[in-house]
């Protein structure tokens, strides 16, 4: 037994606790690094110890991380939701953990109403609200259908969806098409302008993208490697959540030839599709999210793993899931983001945190890769060094660095990936999420963008459940 070279020469020492010993070591000329140890931010000490000592944990987390890192993502199809996930008539998907109409926030209600109007289930807002409030419409989280939706995430049967596949596991994940900025359904707006855009997306955008994507594959081309686009975005100043400019342009570049090649469609429609994509800098977000979802779904159901597989919000509650606790949600009231506001909107106008897009942070980019996106660092508190500090801090919450998601300014270190509930508790630092802000009042749309953290209570519950599971395993 060589104790990992311990006895081969004067050791470097990492010290946590009282500094008397470190001082004595320095007096001897020894190399000492002091840890800025604090009592854990939360968690029953017995639970923390049970997890720290869980013999399965290290291997389980390694397995979860390996699966996450191995997963790929290619774009294989674009299909309506009723076809691709069998979304039933009178069923609407929404973001975040399970939600009732009664508990739904303004923007979520606005989006649900808008979807009922769009599907023709209701002739007006009142009628839609009656349907929704009487349970005539079934509500279900996107995450329960291998799907993710930005902001309200409301997905109805006739909306078209990106269909992505993980070539490693064969897993699939889905997301609706991004509508652009301003007054949009996902931000809770539902007026005629919104409806007209949704109809155009259903009648023109979806079919054209479908024919383009399938046509290209049928012609023998490789499907679009979305994970590779994500990786390139980080080299180009995007963090993949609040900033998707480079990614959207790259997606446009990749899709354009096959869009132009679509037959049987007026050239004016082709032009409109290209203009729409080119004018929407968040277009790629709806491809990035299911890419993250594929990787995190690959890491699901690893007994003993303390890694997060989902962070998501429905505008009322924040919910998380872990690899070690399967499909269980751990939920608490969502925080309201802080940040910068459009026009004369202010903090009072912002709805609590909403959307499945925190899947990007769960995957280790977005707020975790803040250092990659100097153009938007002011959301993090002002400066480039602050952005670097945010990413540095996130390394201490995570299990690994994702070599596929390299951050140039960090010396091409991989992004901090695989949020560990135990590390969150021990450091007392919560994950950093970059996010859009929807107006609190249904119909408002976007009011700003900024930063938010999950409520600690979600992590407290997850820690307790994981510890309970560790004890009975």
């Amino acid at each position: 037994m060589s104790l990992g070279n311990l006895l081969s020469g004067p050791p470097s020492i990492v010290a946590a606790g009282v500094d008397v010993f470190s001082d004595a070591l320095r007096a001897q000329g020894a190399e000492v690094a002091d840890v800025d140890w604090r009592p854990p931010g939360f968690g029953d000490p017995a639970d923390l110890a049970a997890l720290a000592l869980d013999a399965r944990r290290a291997a389980a987390n390694r397995t979860a991380v390996e699966r996450l890192l191995a997963a790929g993502s290619v774009l294989v199809d674009v299909r309506p939701a009723h076809e691709v996930i069998g979304l039933a008539d009178r069923t609407l998907l929404h973001s975040g953990p399970p939600l009732t109409w009664e508990a739904a926030s303004g923007p979520m209600r606005g989006a649900l109403v808008g979807a009922c109007l769009f599907e023709g289930w209701a002739a007006d807002v009142e009628e839609a609200e009656i349907l929704l409030s009487t349970g005539a419409i079934t509500l279900d989280p996107c995450h329960h259908h291998r799907t993710v939706g930005p902001m309200a995430g409301v997905t109805s049967p006739s909306m078209w969806m990106w269909c992505l596949e993980d070539p490693v596991t064969g897993g699939q994940a889905f997301c609706n098409l991004n509508e652009g900025l301003g007054k949009v359904l996902r931000m809770g707006a539902f007026n005629e302008e919104v409806q007209a855009r949704l109809r155009w997306m259903r009648d023109v955008l979806g079919p054209v993208l479908s024919k383009a994507v399938r046509g290209s594959i049928d012609a023998g081309n490789d499907p679009l490697d979305v994970k590779a686009v994500l990786a390139q975005m980080l080299q180009m100043g995007d963090e993949g959540h609040n900033r998707n400019r480079a990614g959207s342009l790259m997606a446009l570049r990749e899709l354009s030839p096959s869009i132009v090649a679509v037959e049987g469609v007026p050239s004016s429609d082709i032009a409109a599709v290209l203009t729409f994509i080119g004018g929407n800098e968040h277009f790629f977000l709806n491809l990035g999210m299911p890419t993250a979802k594929l990787a995190l779904d690959a890491a699901r159901n690893v007994p003993g793993s303390t890694m997060l597989t989902v962070m998501s919000r429905n505008g009322t509650e924040f919910g998380i899931q872990t690899a070690g606790t399967g499909d269980r949600w751990f939920t608490a009231p969502a925080n309201t983001p802080v940040g910068l506001f459009l026009g004369d909107y202010g903090p009072d106008d912002a709805n609590p945190d909403i959307g499945d897009s925190a899947i990007m942070e769960t995957y280790g980019i977005g707020g975790f890769a803040m250092a990659a996106a100097p153009a938007i660092v002011r959301f993090v508190g002002g400066t480039v060094p602050d952005a670097l500090a945010t990413t540095e801090r996130m390394y201490q919450l995570t299990l690994t660095e994702n070599p596929a998601m390299a951050i140039p300014i960090m010396g091409f270190r991989g992004s901090p990936t695989g949020i560990d509930v135990l590390k969150v508790a021990r450091t007392g630092w919560l994950p950093q999420i970059n996010t859009g802000m929807a107006g609190r009042i249904a119909g408002t749309g976007q009011v700003g963008a900024g930063l938010v953290q999950p409520p600690q209570a979600c992590f407290e519950q997850a820690l307790t459940a994981l510890a309970e599971e560790a004890r009975t395993a």
């Binding site: 311990l6 020469g9 540095e392």
Partner: protein, 501 residues
């Protein structure tokens, strides 16, 4: 620049479009927020003139005239009067011109866990972690070290024994060592960790389930001119039934594999007999000779164990340094009062003295029937370990903070009971920088009050920061007889009591 100023009722308004100016949307939102917070400003929008922003401006009643292009910067402000408006517009210009200044730094992010700290070290360099956080939380930090493939010294006490067992099993599987919990002493490749003495390098490796025991042994070896390769502490419970010597076995194996270690001495408080037997049979299978200095009623004291080791090595046993002090017999009927900071040294005193004095009461007694708890004013023969957990709750170890022991000395001086006072004084890193200083005054005061022979076991080396001779001279000047061997000090005290061991 094309300023326009549509006048509203009781308000001053400016809507401008600027060309050739670009700022990103975040910067512009910050500018808007800053201007909006000014006194007298009721509405503001500073943004690129995109269709979306123009719609927002229209909603605020601040739409620009003409046909703006998205490349233009829209600056729209409504204020309560012209002065407020002018000031606001001036502030827009200065806000746009401002350069951001950094307040944070990635370098300033501290490591919060042992795991994060160890991640920074090169994988193949020798390294270890020291954990002295509250015992409730020590297990997670220690587990970090094991997961990183590093050994760890757990100084913390109050770690549940089942956690100790789990950590040591995990460490064994990972090929690393858990020293502790409640491990105060180790020396690794010449680096002294916790309470340890400055001893010369050499061929003897120590495995120690006893901190002060390891200090006594390593200091005597140093005085004999023999150095140590490493002192691996394993924690006081390692040789108990519950822990089963898990760390002792791994430490023995590691020293067996270490080229610098030619002989091993195992130092321990009285071990569980079955565990001692397992350890002995494991040691027999190693190539390095292992000698036990585990204390028990049947085994030699620590000094004798060191002497036997020297003989094994073909070396002469030196005369152990001492300052025998004033020859003074104890008052007839006197009892032994041992006030100790080292638990193993206290055990050794009781093991040597009990056969001649009979049962000795203690807070850490050899037999449960002799337990005095925390009542230190018991009459009769008494040995107190001030380092016991029950006496260190909420205070520093007596090797750092002598307060409780000084109080006990004063109480003894004030009592009518005739006595011989036996003390240990432990030098080295981590200990009081001048223990003789505080103690001398207390001893002189006590001896002025009553006839009180004082015997001191002074554990240390000349190389220690405090210096053995300097401390010995000071204690001798205060009237104490000083010995470098705890066993010799004990026997001297027994002689003074007229009871030879």
């Amino acid at each position: 620049m094309s300023p326009t100023a549509p006048s509203g009722a009781g308000a001053a308004v400016s809507v401008q479009l600027r060309s050739g100016v670009y700022a990103d949307s975040v910067k512009l939102m910050q500018v808007s927020r800053r201007i909006g917070a000014r006194d007298g400003v009721s509405a503001v929008l500073v943004a690129m003139a995109t269709p979306l922003n123009l719609e927002l401006a229209a909603g605020m009643g601040l739409a620009p005239e003409g046909d703006p292009s998205p490349e233009q910067l829209l600056i729209a402000v409504r204020a309560e009067d012209d002065d407020a408006l002018a000031a606001a517009l001036a502030d827009v210009d200065s806000a746009l011109a401002e350069r951001e200044r950094s307040t944070g730094s990635a370098d300033a992010i501290p490591h919060r866990t042992v795991g994060a700290g160890l991640d920074e070290l090169p994988a193949d360099a020798p390294a270890l972690a020291i954990v002295s956080v509250p015992g409730t939380y020590a297990v997670a930090e220690a587990a970090d070290a094991i997961a990183a493939g590093r050994s760890v010294l757990v100084f913390s006490d109050g770690v549940p024994v089942e956690h100790e067992v789990a950590l040591k099993r995990a460490a064994h599987d990972a090929g690393v060592l858990v020293m502790g919990p409640d491990c105060g002493t180790a020396i690794v490749s010449g680096v002294a960790l916790g309470f340890a003495n400055v001893v010369r390098p050499g061929p003897v490796g120590l495995v120690a389930a006893s901190g002060t025991g390891a200090q006594q042994v390593s200091c005597l070896l140093d005085m004999a001119g023999v150095g140590v390769s490493h002192v691996l502490g394993v924690g006081g419970r390692d040789l108990s039934e519950a822990v089963g010597g898990l760390a002792t076995l791994d430490a023995l194996a590691a020293l067996d594999a270490d080229p610098a270690t030619e002989r091993v001495l195992l130092v321990s408080k009285p071990p569980a007999p079955s565990v001692a037997a397992d350890v002995a049979s494991f040691a027999d299978g190693l190539s390095v000779p292992v000698r036990s200095a585990a204390l028990s009623a049947e085994t030699p004291d620590l000094t004798a164990a060191v002497e036997a080791l020297l003989t094994d090595m073909g070396l002469d046993v030196p005369v152990w340094p001492s300052r025998p002090g004033p020859a003074e017999a104890a008052v007839p009927g006197a009892v032994l009062k041992g006030l100790f900071s080292g638990g193993t040294l206290a055990d050794e005193v009781m093991l040597i003295a009990s056969p001649v004095l009979g049962g000795i009461r203690s807070n850490t007694p050899l037999e449960p029937g002799l337990d005095v708890g925390t009542d230190l004013s018991t009459s009769g023969h008494l040995v107190v370990d001030f380092g016991d957990d029950a006496l260190t709750v909420g205070r520093a170890h007596p090797m750092i903070d002598p307060t409780l022991r000084l109080e006990a000395i004063a109480e003894l001086a004030a009592s009518d009971e005739p006595a011989v006072l036996l003390l240990d004084v432990v030098l080295g890193y981590g200990a009081d920088p001048d223990p003789a200083g505080a103690l001398s005054a207390a001893l002189q005061a006590a001896r002025a009050q009553k006839a009180l022979p004082v015997v001191v076991a002074l554990i240390g080396t000349e190389g220690d920061p405090q210096g053995w001779s300097r401390q010995a001279d000071a204690l001798a000047a205060a009237g104490a007889a000083v010995f470098s061997s705890n066993a010799a000090a004990t026997r001297y005290a027994l002689d003074l009591l007229g009871a030879s061991a």
